[in-house]
Symmetry: C2
Subunit: 125 residues, 2 copies
């Protein structure tokens, strides 16, 4: 099983990666990115719509994630007014849409774990 990307480290956007997992986790890692993306699968959403969907996320964290995802080309941002109140919409790019099956697998596995762990907890205590 050769997981290495070629013989030497691979560079993407000035960052060094040693395997495909490195690359994937660079784009998806952290507490919020996958959750934000999950809510953008359905349809484009405004800043506060995403925020309402995600309990506990702060504006700062949401801003950081959206910028990072935009920089990576996973989502795109559209601004509709110049003057406040602003209207901004975020949506997946075509590149971002290639993540949908992966995101679905992640959520499915998460739900599986909830059931699995609850089962263990109930039978052992």
């Amino acid at each position: 099983m050769n997981n290495n990307i070629g013989l030497l480290p691979n560079y993407v956007d000035g960052l060094k990666f040693h395997c495909g997992m490195d690359v994937a986790m660079h784009h998806l890692g952290g507490k919020w990115k996958t959750v934000v993306l999950w809510y953008l699968i359905e349809n484009k959403k405004r800043f506060n719509e995403i925020k309402k969907n995600i309990p506990n996320i702060t504006e700062k964290m949401l801003t950081i994630q959206l910028k990072s995802l935009e920089k990576d080309g996973i989502i795109k941002k559209e601004v509709f007014n110049i003057k406040p109140p602003l209207k901004v919409e975020y949506s997946l790019t075509d590149f971002g849409k290639t993540l949908i099956p992966l995101l679905e697998s992640l959520v499915d596995w998460g739900h599986f774990v909830v059931k699995e762990k609850s089962y263990v907890m109930h039978t052992k205590k």
Copy 2:
């Protein structure tokens, strides 16, 4: 699309999760876990075998990841000698094996990104 787990936050091992993604990323998040797991898919491995497979990981980081994965029931540890030199083997549990398709999807997507990004970089500069 209802991603929330029931109406209230769900608790697993004393931690609070609001959606399946939360749960999944709790188990897989961070820089090393998915990489470590990737090398354990093939077969059980000893501490230093894993370390040799992963450039740059320190003993400390590997120790932390292995302990965390073991605590989560994703891998199991077998010790074969009491006296040094020790022989310890790590392998996926049955629960851990449920992650294999997900891990494969992650690596595949990572490799896809490498190609995609290189393409973009070459055509734009």
